[in-house]
């Protein structure tokens, strides 16, 4: 159950557009919170709040660097979401693969019918 709840949190964490923007920026490299606030046009406390949510699900890591704290992306925490979409995609690919077979059959029949009618 704990694992399921954590996964759910990861999905919730990236469901918020501002948090996705933060992840996008961090994908380009480590940033202190001021940078993020400036780039996103948000007040620092707001950014800190989002960063806290992202850290809780492990999507963002932090390290001390002298006087500032640098935040960075941890893509591994987001892998379940990527995997889900991939799995979903695979299900549809297989379904459409079967549809291809049906369509080939229909095309053959169409051609056959057309020939016999003309």
């Amino acid at each position: 159950m704990a694992r399921a709840a954590t996964t759910a949190d990861a999905f919730n964490a990236v469901a918020e557009p501002r948090r996705r923007q933060i992840l996008d920026v961090l994908a380009g490299g480590e940033r202190p919170v001021n940078d993020l606030a400036g780039l996103l046009g948000l007040a620092q406390p707001q950014v800190s709040k989002h960063l806290r949510v992202l850290r809780e699900v492990g999507a963002v890591d932090v390290r001390e660097d002298g006087r500032q704290r640098l935040y960075r992306l941890n893509g591994r925490a987001l892998k379940p979401i990527h995997d889900w979409v991939k799995e979903y995609e695979r299900t549809w690919s297989e379904r459409f693969g079967e549809l291809d077979v049906v369509l080939e059959d229909l095309k053959r029949k169409e051609q056959g019918d057309g020939g016999s009618e003309q």
Partner: protein, 169 residues
């Protein structure tokens, strides 16, 4: 994998917080894709993919008409879906609600909509299936339920859940 050459794989994207978009091109004119999509005997042939068998497909193809598909997955469990057609433009567009009968019932206004469009270029058809949920919460819930099941029960169940999110109409 398929005996007949495939036109590619399905592409899944999440355009907005409330949507899932599935896109695929087919090497056939759109009249045929539309027919395969809307004819019960044909739906039975492809809709289960390779994960089971469609045991029942009913389609009343008119606005206000309903459809219902039942599939028995390879594991033996039965999965059923139904919906109501909201908009039909033959060979071009179908809008329908979609309900997974294994889930807790949603208020009618919250049932996800499937918007399917068929467009043709040079004899090839691009199919777009847009799943439009009413809220971000609903779509997030769909994603979460899919992931949770996948982690707990393995691939088979995940696929059943994934299928449950999107019937083929």
């Amino acid at each position: 994998m398929a005996a007949v050459s495939s036109s590619g794989t399905a592409r899944v994207t999440l355009p907005t917080d409330e949507q899932i978009l599935i896109t695929r091109e087919f090497a056939a004119p759109r009249e045929l894709v539309y027919r395969a999509w809307t004819t019960p005997e044909l739906v039975k042939l492809w809709w289960a993919g390779r994960r089971g068998e469609v045991t029942s497909a009913e389609i009343d193809l008119r606005v206000g008409g309903t459809w219902r598909y039942v599939m028995v997955a390879s594991g033996g469990h039965e999965v059923a879906f139904h919906g109501e057609f909201r908009e039909i433009v033959p060979n071009e567009r179908i809008v329908t609600t979609e309900v997974y009968e294994g889930a807790e019932p949603l208020p009618a206004a919250d049932e996800p909509l499937n918007i399917v469009t068929f467009s043709e270029t040079n004899g090839r058809t691009t199919l777009e299936l847009l799943v439009q949920c009413t809220t971000k919460e609903l779509r997030d819930m769909i994603i979460e339920s899919g992931m949770e099941s996948g982690l707990q029960e393995g691939l088979d169940l995940l696929e059943v859940v994934a299928i449950s999110l999107q019937p083929g109409v």
